[in-house]
Symmetry: C2
Subunit: 165 residues, 2 copies
DNA sequence: CTTCGTGCAAAACCTTTGCATTAAA
DNA sequence: TTTAATGCAAAGGTTTTGCACGAAG
């Protein structure tokens, strides 16, 4: 094996998407390419509407329609590049599921903040449980609900609208 | 303290709901009562539409409207009697969160089935993480995604419609 | 050429809400 | 009697889809 092969090179999201698509007899179109670039360039947590807003506002010939954004998000999920982490304001919230350390979230019910923590310990448990059930697991999602440090001290605020996450 | 007091009696969901409502200056109406009875009598996993179907079909004077079903589900969640476990077919899936052992779910992406497993080990991890972050946690929700034992063996079926859970 | 993808607008869907009426406390 | 809750129908908001056109292999 060559030097190159012995190094595990990080494949770009775009490349991974292309691989996935080819296995499905689907095409890496210009639009899908644009969406992947945007999603992996600037966002961490985002919801479809935020992305749609950006993509449909473009005037430089890189505009992508609402339908295609939604359709592409679905493909990106299937490809293992994105995952839904939560719901906020009745929208699905996505985050990178590739090229990003596995983590889970503490979700504050007072202020709506998401706090990340490493998923290592949880993953161990998950792996064990999955094996015991003959379940081929591809990932997990753990939401810990409660009240964050800050809100524990402050006077109670009920349902403050959260627009960004 | 009396003999009676020394025994921790399991309070019925209905009673617990009444207690919650009174703390909120809300009323245990006939309709809310009917919904609680139905929810805790027959369902385990259910989504709002299934419940609405049952409640609005009644002709025995125990009919409850769609609006009230939705409104009551919200109250039951706030009261700690129900919790959302997942989303399936774009609907929230509820289950009992009271008088029921804590558990989490393996969710098959092929057939949509939910398999329960005890939450003990996960809870330990969650408790530790929450403490480390000064987070007062009230509960968690863990979804393990993948392909179940049965679907691993069978030929691939894409998106089989799941109507019941 | 033949299949797949896009964009648009309309539809589908789930969930919430305004309002007049009815029922708890 | 006072305040909260119900039912209806209509609205709200997100996501999907039918279809004609265009692009990719």
């Amino acid at each position: 094996m060559s030097d190159l092969e012995s190094i595990s090179v990080a494949v770009s999201p775009r490349e991974k998407f292309r691989e996935y698509l080819s296995t499905q007899n689907k095409r890496l179109t210009r639009e899908r390419d644009i969406v992947v670039e945007e999603v992996f360039a600037t966002h961490e947590h985002f919801d479809p509407e935020q992305l749609v807003a950006v993509m449909t506002a473009r005037t430089d010939g890189r505009r992508v329609s609402r339908s295609t954004v939604y359709r592409t998000l679905k493909e990106l999920e299937r490809a293992g590049l994105l995952r839904k982490v939560a719901r906020a304001n009745d929208r699905d919230v996505f985050e990178h599921d590739y090229g990003y350390p596995q983590h889970d979230h503490l979700i504050c019910s007072e202020c709506g903040s998401l706090t990340e923590f490493p998923a290592d310990d949880v993953s161990k448990v998950v792996t064990r449980v999955a094996e015991a059930n003959g379940f081929r697991h591809t990932g997990h999602r753990l939401e810990v609900h409660g009240v964050c440090n800050q809100c524990c001290r402050s006077p109670r605020r009920r349902h403050p609208k959260l627009d960004m996450i």
